[in-house]
């Protein structure tokens, strides 16, 4: 009953269904993200964004990064999407319509310009980094044990710094939410 089919289906899709298993979730990802931006209804936008998180997770799994894909699902679908939804539900509708944001006067063209500027900056950084110049590895399999050793070995300082940052954020949130004792 130890079915090789399912495993290959998820980890090595090239063998079975060609490139479609990678292309299909990527298409869903692009379409749902675009729809999330366009849709007027905020809750629908949040749900479409959740769909794009799921599609992104499946894309990672299809590309062989099983661990990253599962963590993407666990963190983004389980926590981040729910926090977005909570934030929408706790905001009153009248606060949503009259937005006092400094960016509200720039119009669609200004928004697009800012978006493309950000994209250009990101792409410049990505392609100028030493990671981009390294040749692609032959195999993309990343067992959990290897990821764990890398996190606890080479990247332990980064891991601890992120841990401290998240703890500080948690404490800050608790302080804001705390009732003032009279």
């Amino acid at each position: 009953m130890n079915c090789e089919f399912l495993k290959t289906f998820f980890t090595d899709p090239m063998k079975l269904v060609g490139e479609w298993f990678v292309i299909l979730p990527a298409l869903v990802l692009l379409l749902s993200t675009a729809a999330a931006v366009v849709v007027r209804n905020l809750i629908h936008a949040a749900l479409l964004l959740t769909l794009s998180f799921i599609a992104l997770g499946i894309t990672f799994i299809a590309l062989g990064a099983e661990f990253v894909g599962f963590v993407q699902l666990l963190v983004y679908v389980g926590a981040v999407a729910m926090i977005i939804v909570f934030a929408i539900l706790l905001t009153r509708p009248d606060q949503l319509t009259k937005s006092g944001s400094a960016l509200s006067g720039i119009g669609p063209a200004g928004g697009a310009a800012i978006g493309f500027a950000l994209l250009a900056a990101l792409l410049t950084f990505v392609f100028s980094s030493p990671m981009a110049r390294k040749p692609l590895p032959a195999s993309v399999s990343a067992p959990v044990a290897a990821i764990g050793e890398a996190l606890m070995g080479d990247y332990v300082v980064v891991l601890i710094v992120i841990g401290v940052l998240l703890t500080a954020a948690l404490v800050g949130a608790a302080v804001i939410a705390m009732e003032d004792k009279p």
């Binding site: 009953m1 089919f5 809750i43 749900l47 599962f70 963590v71 729910m82 939804v85």
Partner: protein, 397 residues
């Protein structure tokens, strides 16, 4: 003979595929047929278990409360699920006029899919894992996160204040209890040295002194982690005493208020299948999976042990439901964040101490101390905090 029975499901599948193969069916079609058979079997078994549990739960609750329970349909009321199923299918499907009907329709589907998907990684018996993942435990919790989205969709799309309140409560509860749930599961993975469920089961094999099973639940850290996991499993599957998202005295039925007919039945089914899945996970992580509790009981097929243990855990959940009263929402969240979360960290440290102290008598002492002292301190603090004082009633002027 017994060894054959143990491998019967696998052998049957191989025999069937062999017969198909002899007719010249190509290998890739065989792979798809094999996957479909496995999926069909698992869904069939768990829906059968759901039907059985729905009637057994009512029977057990009735027994605890000193009444008969369902006893009209068939012998001992065993055909009650059939009658319920016919009733659910023939009922009118009501959708409120102001509801967001697309999301309202999708919510039961989104609820059912993760409940069935998590069944893929449970080791049901010796060599019987439908999908062997390197990070199987992570898959279980990652896919299970989809349930929260479904609960929110159901609550919001109904356009009913009780539904939204129930959904918000349910999500707050699920997110809070997911932390200690995952941490206590990680404890078992840490000692086994793997996130794969079959490796965790393999790490619990063997018997101390020839008869004591070396399950994780029988160590200090394992007992603490198992207890935390069990409580969080009750909360994750929205079961009593944590069923206040659907507290009928306050919220009608929470996010299920506006659902009727087969959509309601789908939610109900997903809840029970999810409960069985998490019972199966509990058995895998802490109760030795499919392994027999005593050496000479090894002759019973391994999958019988798995389902027997899972049914026993499900039975204790029903028992708890019949015994313990419902919590209040602030007590519920305080319990998760102020007691279960620190205790799960204690179990985590205790397991680390167990590993580094060499798993001998010294390890027993240190890990017991690391779990026991926080338990006593936190437990006393909690009992004093919620101590029942004499109630005085005030009448409003």
């Amino acid at each position: 003979m017994m060894a054959l029975l143990d491998r019967a499901p696998v052998e049957l599948l191989h025999w069937f595929l062999g017969v198909l193969g002899s007719f010249g069916v190509p290998a890739w079609i065989l792979a798809i047929i094999s996957a479909l058979i496995i999926i069909g079997t698992i869904i069939g078994v768990f829906l059968g278990l759901f039907a059985l549990t729905s009637v057994m739960e009512r029977k057990i609750l009735a027994r605890v409360q000193n009444r008969y329970g369902p006893n009209r349909v068939g012998p001992f009321g065993l055909f009650q699920p059939v009658a319920d199923g016919i009733k659910m299918i023939t009922k009118e499907d009501l959708v409120p006029r102001t509801a967001d009907w697309v999301v309202h329709l999708l919510a039961p589907v989104v609820m059912m899919v993760p409940a069935l998907m998590v069944l893929a990684i449970l080791p049901y018996g010796r060599g019987m894992v439908p999908a062997e993942f390197d990070a199987g435990i992570l898959y279980f919790f990652a896919v299970g996160a989809g349930t929260e989205v479904a609960v929110f969709m159901a609550g919001w799309a109904s356009n009913n204040k009780y539904s939204v309140l129930g959904a918000m409560r349910a999500i707050a509860q699920m997110i809070s209890y997911e932390l200690p749930l995952v941490i206590s599961a990680i404890v078992a993975a840490m000692i086994a040295g793997s996130l794969s469920p079959s490796a965790i089961v393999a790490a619990q094999s063997g018997f101390a002194f020839g008869f004591l099973p070396q399950w994780f639940a029988f160590t200090p850290w394992g007992f603490a982690a198992a207890f935390i996991f069990y409580i969080c499993a009750l909360a994750e599957s929205n079961r009593s005493p944590f069923d206040l998202p659907e507290g009928e005295s306050e919220l009608v039925a929470g996010h299920l208020t506006e659902y009727s007919g087969f959509k309601y039945a789908t939610f109900f089914m997903a809840e029970y299948v999810g409960m069985f899945a998490i019972c199966g996970m509990f058995v895998t992580l802490f109760l030795g999976g499919w392994q027999a509790p005593l050496p000479f009981l090894d002759i019973v097929p391994s999958w019988c042990w798995f389902f027997g243990k899972a049914c026993f855990v499900a039975f204790t959940m029903i028992w708890v439901r019949a015994t313990v009263p419902r919590l209040r929402i602030d007590h519920l969240l305080a319990f998760a964040w102020k007691f279960l979360l620190p205790m799960s960290f204690a179990a985590f440290l205790s397991a680390a101490a167990w590993h580094y102290a060499g798993r001998g008598p010294l390890a027993w002492l240190t890990s017991l101390a690391i779990v026991g002292i926080p338990y006593l301190v936190l437990g006393t603090a909690f009992t004093n905090r919620f101590a029942v004082s004499r109630r005085t009633y005030q009448f409003s002027e």
